[in-house]
Symmetry: C2
Subunit: 661 residues, 2 copies
């Protein structure tokens, strides 16, 4: 499959006076020049300068000026320092990954036209782990993939080709340092990834990744001991099971020594796990952690555990509680090389959810924030929905677990509890489409996720601007238009889809398009409880009590329908259509207004986009236009179905008399 270069296009541009004045670029660190990461850093610089300015960069190996001998003491791992002095640019770091990130940062400066004169830039990544989780299946399909087929797997084989290298460059350029290559739902051939059948190829892939500072991880089938035919049990406390894993991991790490570790979805949505044997998640995770510990491996254990056989008639059971209820009591029981990976919200990547109460709920456990840049519930890369503003809200959320340093960002950066096995993971949005992400502008989510995990202090707007300039150059109108579109998109999507934090209302299974009752009578625990008088789920102390899982003052705010923020009101409370929101509107009028407004926002986005014809490469322009036209139509479908549903149900007309069917 043909592929493009996303934001690493390095297209020809006029070299400004500043870049012409650059005489040397010095890479400065302690270590060996032969390091692959350094070699790749040099290659990247050469590629960029050749592409952008037609300038050839020659590698000089004068010892007195060399990369190897400069003192860079006191810098933390992966950090870089870029400074300019009389046309000489130095990129200093204490390790080769720092050099690589420094090179990409320097190139970003050049590409975005930022001043180089007197540049003095020091950066260290905030999150220790900055990971992509690919839900790629070995048959080449991708679970919740909206950008073509897998480029890691095809017909149960591992692919290693040119695209792999470009993928690694793109990931590394935004600071990604870990990649899980296979779907968390590990089945069929993927169970065999940890066997001789595949380890040579896994090793090849790991080496390519390693050259870009990225560790390779795999998703693990908890039932591997039985499914690989070795044992009758996968009981984590059974001695033969523990030995089996130890032997298996010894073999795996001997063959792939630079492997990062494993991601596990256990006892969730039909996946096997320790519950089968009456054991806890801690038992299961710790057993695996012991097996990988000798090799520096880590075990990432997902907290997405809930009863997916719920009865819709049951108003007591609350899926939102399940992560907390399953893991809170285990706080402190996990080994140091275990990380719990927790979705941003308690449900499943809806356009709006409260922050997961396990953040701040646990204090003695390594935690990683899981977000999803694959837009499963936010338009599936056919709608534009720039998610970085949402992720930022999550990161800034105060948990009140202690008096300060209590935000989600501080927790998963390791600052709150002094941890180093923590960070942020995103379910990836890539596939073998030429543009990697189906929707050209969905690449902003990939780019943005990496940048945000590295430097969460950046604003969503700054990140968007960087991505636009790197991808499409410096044209002012292009920048303003795409920036407006990106920054409006999440809000617009929220407006024209499910209202006020209630979520869902999508077609079951494939999760695309409106279906108000799609999950209302299902076993998935995802209800809106709308009747002719009102809607919403009572999660207050009178209801499921979920609101009380938060630390104060959050608990009191969420528990009280008069204090609860409008955008989460229906998540926490069952509210009459006639209830007045803080905005002064009734709930029903808000529903109508939001849906008409959301569509208007899309119309404006598309109208402004059309003016870019001729300013963007025509092929990309047309490709994007097609998606925007679909989004326009599909936003109307959302608007009309939601408005009609609630009009038919409530019988309350729109104050402004707009068309509802």
């Amino acid at each position: 499959m043909e592929f493009e270069q996303a934001w690493l296009t390095y297209t020809k541009r006029d070299s400004g006076k500043e870049t012409e004045e650059i005489k040397y670029i010095r890479l400065s660190m302690q270590g060996k020049e032969q390091d692959k990461v350094i070699q790749n850093s040099i290659l990247e610089l050469q590629r960029a300068f050749a592409g952008m300015f037609g300038r050839e960069l020659i590698v000089c190996r004068k010892p007195e000026q060399s990369v190897c001998l400069m003192l860079t003491e006191g810098m933390q791992a992966e950090a870089y320092h870029i400074y300019e002095d009389k046309g000489e640019v130095t990129i200093a770091a204490s390790d080769s990954k720092g050099i690589l990130y420094g090179v990409f940062a320097f190139l970003r400066q050049v590409q975005t036209g930022s001043p180089l004169d007197g540049l003095d830039l020091r950066k260290a990544p905030k999150m220790p782990l900055r990971m992509l989780n690919h839900w790629d299946n070995m048959d080449g399909s991708i679970e919740r993939g909206y950008s073509g087929a897998s480029f890691f797997f095809r017909q149960n084989q591992i692919l290693v080709d040119e695209r792999t290298v470009t993928y690694a460059r793109l990931a590394a350029s935004v600071g990604i340092n870990g990649v899980v290559i296979n779907n968390v739902n590990v089945k069929d051939a993927a169970t065999w990834l940890i066997t001789e059948r595949y380890l040579d190829k896994v090793g090849e892939l790991a080496d390519i990744f390693g050259g870009y500072g990225i560790k390779l991880y795999m998703s693990l089938n908890y039932a591997a001991p039985t499914e690989l035919g070795a044992l009758d049990s996968a009981d984590p406390l059974a001695e033969e099971v523990r030995s089996w894993w130890k032997e298996q991991m010894k073999m795996v790490f001997e063959r792939v020594p630079n492997l990062g570790g494993f991601l596990i979805k256990a006892d969730s949505e039909g996946r096997p796990g320790p519950f089968t044997y009456g054991r806890t998640h801690a038992d299961g995770a710790n057993m695996l952690a012991e097996a990988v510990a000798p090799y520096g491996g880590i075990i990432i254990w997902r907290c997405f555990v809930y009863n997916c056989q719920q009865d819709w008639r049951d108003y007591k059971t609350d899926r939102a509680r399940s992560g907390y209820d399953n893991f809170k009591a285990l706080d402190g029981q996990f080994l140091d090389n275990v990380i719990l990976q927790i979705k941003n919200g308690p449900m499943d990547f809806q356009v709006r959810e409260p922050v997961h109460p396990l953040f701040g709920g646990m204090t003695q456990t390594n935690q990683m924030l899981e977000v999803q840049i694959a837009q499963e519930y936010t338009g599936q890369q056919r709608h534009l929905c720039y998610l970085i503003p949402m992720f930022q809200e999550v990161l800034k959320f105060r948990t009140y677990v202690q008096e300060e340093n209590d935000t989600v960002e501080e927790i998963v950066s390791g600052k709150t509890f002094g941890q180093c096995n923590c960070g942020m993971a995103a379910v990836a949005n890539t596939g073998d489409d030429a543009n990697w992400t189906g929707h050209d502008m969905a690449a902003a989510n990939w780019y943005g996720f990496g940048r945000l995990a590295f430097e969460p202090e950046l604003s969503a707007e700054e990140i968007a601007k960087e991505w636009i300039r790197l991808t499409y150059g410096a044209d002012k109108q292009v920048e303003e238009t795409l920036l407006f579109m990106l920054m409006s998109s999440w809000k617009a999507y929220e407006q024209y889809t499910s209202p006020l934090g209630i979520g869902w209302m999508v077609n079951p299974d494939y999760h695309y398009g409106p279906n108000v009752d799609g999950y209302e009578y299902s076993r998935w625990g995802t209800y809106h409880r709308a009747d002719h008088l009102g809607l919403g789920v009572d999660r207050s102390r009178q209801g499921t009590g979920y609101a009380l899982l938060y630390k104060e003052p959050n608990a009191s705010v969420y528990d009280d329908k008069r204090k609860c923020p409008d955008e989460l009101l229906l998540f926490f409370h069952h509210i009459p259509y006639t209830w007045k929101l803080k905005s002064g509107k009734t709930v029903i009028q808000h529903i109508y207004d939001a849906h008409f407004d959301g569509v208007d926002m899309v119309d404006e986005m598309v109208e402004r986009f059309r003016k870019l014809e001729g300013k963007l490469p025509q092929k990309q322009y047309l490709r994007m236009l097609e998606r925007f036209q679909h989004q326009k139509e599909h936003a109307r479908e959302w608007r009309d179905q939601i408005n009609t549903y609630f009009y038919r149900k409530s019988g309350i007309p729109d104050e402004r008399g707009r068309e509802i069917y």
Copy 2:
């Protein structure tokens, strides 16, 4: 795959005095004894007598008593005459198919314990064509198949084995004389069935069928000339297209001379057709009819043509009208060897629909009634739903197309308009499950369809009794229980699913289980239009005008909500929840009552069934019990979802205060 013998078990039983007195069974017809059908008739008698009584039947070839020389003049094709005289049973017919049907009829007499002494039974089939349509794909899957995989195809190959013969025996035993082996949605390999790649095997199959008086038919891909790579067009008026088909059909019938003809789904649900070339269905069908006419072939053209890209906001377009609107104007334009195949109702095999208005709407066109014994919308062979009572209602429906002989039965029997290319077809409910039909009792629909098409004067109850006795023997309690269950089942299913003729309310795509809004905002033209005040589709003269497509007095009855039968009220009218039905109940109370009653009926069925333990073969009993337990639960799911939906929407409580969620 292992398979059973369904109602042709011929299990050992005591031979009563009567059967012991049988000395000879004489097969009497004009023709050759070597005829395969005669051979199979003899085999069947021998198999039955050996199985039931351990008696060996010897074939005598005394000329003066032989089958070949008796005079049987004056009998119509396929008819038989069975009579007993002093222990000598004669089965007389004017053709070998008559003999075969006579043999099966005679065996039915023996098996059901009917008197043989002085037996004198003359029967001729009412419907000229009595067909099964299999929606089997060549990959082995079955569209809307609920009984395992195809036994005609696997991995793009045609299967011919022992099961094929048993299938033909079962079909012939109830009078089936035509079988379409492949899905009407003809794609991929199936397009190649009419080529050398498959014709040898098709011929083998056709010969086996032929031995049981069954003609083999195939579904045709209208776009075959282009898809087989021969031409750029499939325009039915283009000379090269017409020649191509003539050549192709010449080849096909040379290879498979006993082929019956073809079934075509054109311009429907994405299938290609003459519309692509601006031609009519008559143009398309006639072109094919001309190509097969020299070989006595017929073309069966489906009328299931509608706009499947409808906008749910559009209250004017009415899918129910589409068959009529597409075909009515073509009446008289079709060649004699074309048959229009029309579903029983205007929608799609719902549990309750009015009769299709094309019956009686056309007077100069061969018409065939299509029903579905695959229970796509009636429980998918997991729920018991005996459909023969429904088919009978359809057959007895008076169209008023002329003063008498105007029922659907008379139209498709050929009586009304003096036609002979007409009859009845059922979408089949078989697969390679051991019991053929998934649910053991779903076999009653297969059995019943054939019997009904042959002798529509039989009551659903008589047919059910026959099937029970043939399948499970003469135990009185078994008979009474299963008869009660069969005869209650359609009504029960109607009660606990969608109310008062409105239909749908199922999960999209796979059509199983309740989902009130499942199709409400879809493109399929299948809506209920429920709001907080009422529900139903206005198809009166004020609405889509569909009611007026019927002849008087039907049109006036359907058009007037006060005259319209309750069970079709919501199909024809949008009605307030508070409207009083003829039953005296309000619509909403009817909904609640029907759903509680329907579940009670299922409970009673299952309770009575449990008492058969020990009276039915244990394996079958347990297999059936499992399905009934599922039906009990699933009927509750239907009840609760429908009741909850309408309670939430209307706000009107159940008068009897039963639990609604």
